[in-house]
Symmetry: C2
Subunit: 150 residues, 2 copies
Amino acid sequence: MTTEEYMQIAYNLAQKAADEDEIPVGAIIVNPETGEIIAQAYNQSAHHGDATSHAEILVIQRACEKLKTTRLWNCDMYVTLEPCTMCAAAISFARIKNLYFGASDPKGGAVVSGVRFFDSSTCHHRPLYHSGILADKCSQILKDFFQNKR
Amino acid sequence: MTTEEYMQIAYNLAQKAADEDEIPVGAIIVNPETGEIIAQAYNQSAHHGDATSHAEILVIQRACEKLKTTRLWNCDMYVTLEPCTMCAAAISFARIKNLYFGASDPKGGAVVSGVRFFDSSTCHHRPLYHSGILADKCSQILKDFFQNKR
Protein backbone atom coordinates (compact mmCIF):
# COMPACT_ATOMS: atom_id res chain seq x y z
CA MET A 1 0.00 0.00 0.00
CA THR A 2 1.09 3.58 -0.62
CA THR A 3 1.49 6.33 1.95
CA GLU A 4 -1.68 7.93 0.59
CA GLU A 5 -3.63 4.69 0.90
CA TYR A 6 -2.62 4.32 4.55
CA MET A 7 -3.57 7.95 5.18
CA GLN A 8 -6.93 7.31 3.55
CA ILE A 9 -7.61 4.70 6.24
CA ALA A 10 -6.73 7.24 8.92
CA TYR A 11 -9.02 9.71 7.13
CA ASN A 12 -11.89 7.22 7.19
CA LEU A 13 -11.41 6.99 10.98
CA ALA A 14 -11.55 10.80 11.20
CA GLN A 15 -14.85 10.62 9.30
CA LYS A 16 -16.12 8.11 11.85
CA ALA A 17 -15.13 10.53 14.64
CA ALA A 18 -17.11 13.31 12.93
CA ASP A 19 -20.12 11.02 12.66
CA GLU A 20 -19.93 10.60 16.45
CA ASP A 21 -19.58 14.36 17.03
CA GLU A 22 -15.90 14.07 17.98
CA ILE A 23 -13.18 16.31 16.55
CA PRO A 24 -12.31 14.44 13.32
CA VAL A 25 -8.79 13.13 13.70
CA GLY A 26 -7.88 9.53 12.87
CA ALA A 27 -4.69 7.50 13.33
CA ILE A 28 -3.31 4.09 12.51
CA ILE A 29 -0.11 2.25 13.43
CA VAL A 30 1.43 0.07 10.74
CA ASN A 31 4.21 -2.50 10.56
CA PRO A 32 5.91 -1.27 7.37
CA GLU A 33 7.66 -4.60 6.76
CA THR A 34 4.51 -6.71 6.66
CA GLY A 35 2.04 -3.92 5.81
CA GLU A 36 -0.12 -5.01 8.74
CA ILE A 37 -2.29 -2.35 10.37
CA ILE A 38 -1.62 -3.04 14.03
CA ALA A 39 -4.08 -0.60 15.58
CA GLN A 40 -6.60 2.07 14.64
CA ALA A 41 -8.18 4.91 16.61
CA TYR A 42 -9.96 8.21 16.33
CA ASN A 43 -10.33 11.06 18.76
CA GLN A 44 -12.73 10.16 21.58
CA SER A 45 -12.31 13.05 24.00
CA ALA A 46 -16.03 13.70 24.26
CA HIS A 47 -16.98 10.03 24.61
CA HIS A 48 -14.26 9.25 27.15
CA GLY A 49 -14.85 12.55 28.92
CA ASP A 50 -11.21 13.53 29.15
CA ALA A 51 -8.86 15.60 27.05
CA THR A 52 -6.17 12.89 26.87
CA SER A 53 -8.20 10.65 24.53
CA HIS A 54 -6.62 11.93 21.32
CA ALA A 55 -6.39 9.50 18.40
CA GLU A 56 -2.61 9.18 18.76
CA ILE A 57 -2.72 8.31 22.48
CA LEU A 58 -5.44 5.72 21.93
CA VAL A 59 -3.74 4.10 18.93
CA ILE A 60 -0.45 3.85 20.85
CA GLN A 61 -2.21 2.25 23.83
CA ARG A 62 -3.94 -0.26 21.53
CA ALA A 63 -0.79 -1.14 19.60
CA CYS A 64 1.20 -1.59 22.85
CA GLU A 65 -1.56 -3.81 24.21
CA LYS A 66 -1.67 -5.88 21.03
CA LEU A 67 2.11 -6.30 20.75
CA LYS A 68 2.60 -6.65 24.56
CA THR A 69 5.30 -4.00 24.62
CA THR A 70 5.86 -0.37 25.59
CA ARG A 71 8.19 0.19 22.63
CA LEU A 72 6.84 0.20 19.08
CA TRP A 73 10.25 -0.07 17.40
CA ASN A 74 10.01 -0.15 13.59
CA CYS A 75 6.33 0.82 13.60
CA ASP A 76 4.99 3.77 11.63
CA MET A 77 2.09 6.07 12.51
CA TYR A 78 -0.29 7.77 10.08
CA VAL A 79 -2.42 10.55 11.57
CA THR A 80 -4.63 13.06 9.78
CA LEU A 81 -3.50 16.10 11.81
CA GLU A 82 -0.10 17.25 13.03
CA PRO A 83 0.22 15.88 16.57
CA CYS A 84 -0.12 18.26 19.52
CA THR A 85 2.53 18.61 22.21
CA MET A 86 1.07 15.82 24.34
CA CYS A 87 0.87 13.39 21.43
CA ALA A 88 4.26 14.27 19.93
CA ALA A 89 5.89 13.35 23.25
CA ALA A 90 3.84 10.13 23.46
CA ILE A 91 4.94 9.22 19.90
CA SER A 92 8.57 9.73 20.92
CA PHE A 93 8.15 7.67 24.11
CA ALA A 94 6.57 4.86 22.07
CA ARG A 95 9.60 4.82 19.73
CA ILE A 96 7.57 5.25 16.53
CA LYS A 97 9.95 5.10 13.54
CA ASN A 98 8.15 7.17 10.89
CA LEU A 99 5.38 9.65 11.52
CA TYR A 100 3.19 10.58 8.55
CA PHE A 101 0.68 13.34 9.07
CA GLY A 102 -1.90 15.13 6.95
CA ALA A 103 -2.82 18.70 7.82
CA SER A 104 -0.43 20.95 9.70
CA ASP A 105 -1.70 22.64 12.87
CA PRO A 106 0.02 25.99 13.46
CA LYS A 107 -2.11 26.73 16.55
CA GLY A 108 -1.70 23.43 18.37
CA GLY A 109 0.84 21.27 16.58
CA ALA A 110 4.24 20.34 18.00
CA VAL A 111 6.12 18.74 15.09
CA VAL A 112 6.60 21.52 12.52
CA SER A 113 4.74 24.07 14.69
CA GLY A 114 4.92 25.29 18.30
CA VAL A 115 7.56 23.62 20.46
CA ARG A 116 8.74 21.37 17.56
CA PHE A 117 9.28 18.68 20.14
CA PHE A 118 11.27 16.25 17.98
CA ASP A 119 13.89 18.95 17.47
CA SER A 120 14.12 19.82 21.18
CA SER A 121 16.88 18.85 23.61
CA THR A 122 14.55 16.82 25.86
CA CYS A 123 13.36 14.58 23.01
CA HIS A 124 15.33 11.34 23.34
CA HIS A 125 13.85 9.44 20.38
CA ARG A 126 13.20 11.37 17.19
CA PRO A 127 10.82 9.81 14.67
CA LEU A 128 11.33 10.72 11.05
CA TYR A 129 8.36 12.87 10.09
CA HIS A 130 6.61 13.37 6.77
CA SER A 131 3.96 16.09 6.45
CA GLY A 132 1.26 17.02 3.99
CA ILE A 133 -0.11 13.55 3.12
CA LEU A 134 -3.69 14.11 1.83
CA ALA A 135 -3.38 17.45 3.63
CA ASP A 136 -6.29 19.18 1.88
CA LYS A 137 -8.97 16.65 2.76
CA CYS A 138 -7.56 16.08 6.27
CA SER A 139 -7.81 19.84 6.83
CA GLN A 140 -11.21 20.22 5.15
CA ILE A 141 -12.93 17.66 7.38
CA LEU A 142 -11.81 19.68 10.43
CA LYS A 143 -12.99 22.97 8.89
CA ASP A 144 -16.38 21.44 8.07
CA PHE A 145 -16.70 20.07 11.60
CA PHE A 146 -16.02 23.39 13.31
CA GLN A 147 -18.14 25.27 10.73
CA ASN A 148 -21.11 23.09 11.64
CA LYS A 149 -20.50 23.81 15.35
CA ARG A 150 -21.10 27.53 14.91
CA MET B 1 -3.67 21.13 54.70
CA THR B 2 -0.42 22.73 53.63
CA THR B 3 1.27 22.45 50.25
CA GLU B 4 3.87 20.15 51.83
CA GLU B 5 1.18 17.91 53.34
CA TYR B 6 -0.49 17.48 49.94
CA MET B 7 2.89 16.73 48.36
CA GLN B 8 3.53 14.15 51.06
CA ILE B 9 0.42 12.29 49.85
CA ALA B 10 1.78 12.37 46.29
CA TYR B 11 5.11 11.14 47.68
CA ASN B 12 3.40 8.21 49.41
CA LEU B 13 1.94 7.27 46.01
CA ALA B 14 5.43 7.42 44.49
CA GLN B 15 6.56 5.05 47.23
CA LYS B 16 3.73 2.70 46.27
CA ALA B 17 4.92 2.83 42.64
CA ALA B 18 8.44 1.89 43.76
CA ASP B 19 7.04 -1.02 45.76
CA GLU B 20 5.45 -2.25 42.51
CA ASP B 21 8.69 -1.77 40.53
CA GLU B 22 7.34 1.26 38.68
CA ILE B 23 9.27 4.52 38.28
CA PRO B 24 8.33 6.31 41.53
CA VAL B 25 6.22 9.31 40.58
CA GLY B 26 2.94 10.11 42.33
CA ALA B 27 0.23 12.69 41.68
CA ILE B 28 -2.99 13.94 43.23
CA ILE B 29 -5.66 16.38 42.09
CA VAL B 30 -7.21 18.58 44.77
CA ASN B 31 -10.13 20.96 45.02
CA PRO B 32 -8.38 23.82 46.85
CA GLU B 33 -11.67 25.34 48.05
CA THR B 34 -12.90 22.25 49.90
CA GLY B 35 -9.54 20.54 50.39
CA GLU B 36 -10.96 17.37 48.85
CA ILE B 37 -8.52 15.02 47.13
CA ILE B 38 -10.43 14.26 43.93
CA ALA B 39 -8.10 11.65 42.43
CA GLN B 40 -4.78 9.90 43.08
CA ALA B 41 -2.41 8.01 40.80
CA TYR B 42 1.13 6.79 40.42
CA ASN B 43 3.11 5.84 37.35
CA GLN B 44 1.94 2.51 35.93
CA SER B 45 3.79 2.31 32.62
CA ALA B 46 5.11 -1.18 33.30
CA HIS B 47 1.81 -2.54 34.61
CA HIS B 48 -0.28 -1.02 31.82
CA GLY B 49 2.38 -1.88 29.25
CA ASP B 50 2.42 1.50 27.56
CA ALA B 51 4.45 4.65 27.96
CA THR B 52 1.43 6.94 28.27
CA SER B 53 0.49 5.70 31.76
CA HIS B 54 2.32 8.44 33.64
CA ALA B 55 0.91 9.47 37.04
CA GLU B 56 -0.31 12.82 35.68
CA ILE B 57 -2.23 11.30 32.74
CA LEU B 58 -3.88 8.71 35.00
CA VAL B 59 -4.83 11.21 37.70
CA ILE B 60 -6.37 13.55 35.10
CA GLN B 61 -8.36 10.67 33.60
CA ARG B 62 -9.63 9.64 37.05
CA ALA B 63 -10.52 13.20 38.09
CA CYS B 64 -12.36 13.82 34.79
CA GLU B 65 -14.25 10.55 35.21
CA LYS B 66 -15.18 11.40 38.80
CA LEU B 67 -16.31 14.95 38.05
CA LYS B 68 -17.87 14.00 34.67
CA THR B 69 -16.03 16.73 32.84
CA THR B 70 -13.07 17.25 30.53
CA ARG B 71 -12.16 20.56 32.19
CA LEU B 72 -10.80 20.60 35.75
CA TRP B 73 -11.28 24.33 36.26
CA ASN B 74 -10.12 25.47 39.73
CA CYS B 75 -8.45 22.16 40.50
CA ASP B 76 -4.81 21.91 41.58
CA MET B 77 -2.32 19.13 40.85
CA TYR B 78 0.51 17.98 43.11
CA VAL B 79 3.11 15.74 41.46
CA THR B 80 6.46 14.59 42.80
CA LEU B 81 8.41 15.20 39.56
CA GLU B 82 8.38 18.02 37.02
CA PRO B 83 5.94 16.90 34.31
CA CYS B 84 7.32 15.75 30.96
CA THR B 85 6.24 17.27 27.63
CA MET B 86 3.32 14.86 27.23
CA CYS B 87 2.01 15.51 30.74
CA ALA B 88 2.56 19.27 30.69
CA ALA B 89 0.34 19.48 27.61
CA ALA B 90 -2.27 17.20 29.21
CA ILE B 91 -2.27 19.42 32.34
CA SER B 92 -2.89 22.46 30.16
CA PHE B 93 -5.70 20.71 28.22
CA ALA B 94 -7.33 19.72 31.52
CA ARG B 95 -7.30 23.38 32.67
CA ILE B 96 -5.49 22.67 35.95
CA LYS B 97 -5.25 25.95 37.91
CA ASN B 98 -2.13 25.45 40.03
CA LEU B 99 0.58 22.90 39.44
CA TYR B 100 2.83 22.05 42.39
CA PHE B 101 5.78 19.80 41.69
CA GLY B 102 8.65 18.36 43.71
CA ALA B 103 11.89 17.53 41.94
CA SER B 104 12.88 19.28 38.71
CA ASP B 105 13.76 17.11 35.70
CA PRO B 106 16.31 18.83 33.44
CA LYS B 107 16.50 15.82 31.10
CA GLY B 108 12.81 15.21 30.58
CA GLY B 109 10.80 18.01 32.17
CA ALA B 110 8.77 20.55 30.21
CA VAL B 111 7.76 23.19 32.76
CA VAL B 112 11.02 24.84 33.88
CA SER B 113 13.11 22.57 31.60
CA GLY B 114 13.11 21.57 27.94
CA VAL B 115 10.32 23.06 25.84
CA ARG B 116 8.86 24.98 28.84
CA PHE B 117 5.45 24.29 27.37
CA PHE B 118 3.44 26.68 29.55
CA ASP B 119 5.53 29.55 28.22
CA SER B 120 5.15 28.51 24.54
CA SER B 121 2.92 30.08 21.93
CA THR B 122 0.84 26.91 21.39
CA CYS B 123 -0.10 26.62 25.08
CA HIS B 124 -3.61 28.01 25.37
CA HIS B 125 -4.16 27.52 29.12
CA ARG B 126 -1.26 28.27 31.42
CA PRO B 127 -1.41 26.83 34.92
CA LEU B 128 0.44 28.69 37.64
CA TYR B 129 3.36 26.51 38.61
CA HIS B 130 5.22 26.13 41.89
CA SER B 131 8.40 24.07 42.00
CA GLY B 132 10.60 22.54 44.66
CA ILE B 133 7.95 21.23 47.10
CA LEU B 134 9.65 18.42 49.13
CA ALA B 135 12.12 18.39 46.24
CA ASP B 136 14.90 16.51 48.06
CA LYS B 137 12.86 13.46 48.99
CA CYS B 138 10.97 13.44 45.69
CA SER B 139 14.33 13.36 43.92
CA GLN B 140 15.95 10.85 46.30
CA ILE B 141 13.26 8.21 45.78
CA LEU B 142 13.97 8.32 42.02
CA LYS B 143 17.74 8.11 42.56
CA ASP B 144 17.30 5.13 44.87
CA PHE B 145 15.02 3.41 42.35
CA PHE B 146 17.44 3.73 39.45
CA GLN B 147 20.43 2.90 41.69
CA ASN B 148 18.76 -0.40 42.57
CA LYS B 149 18.16 -1.09 38.87
CA ARG B 150 21.89 -1.10 38.06
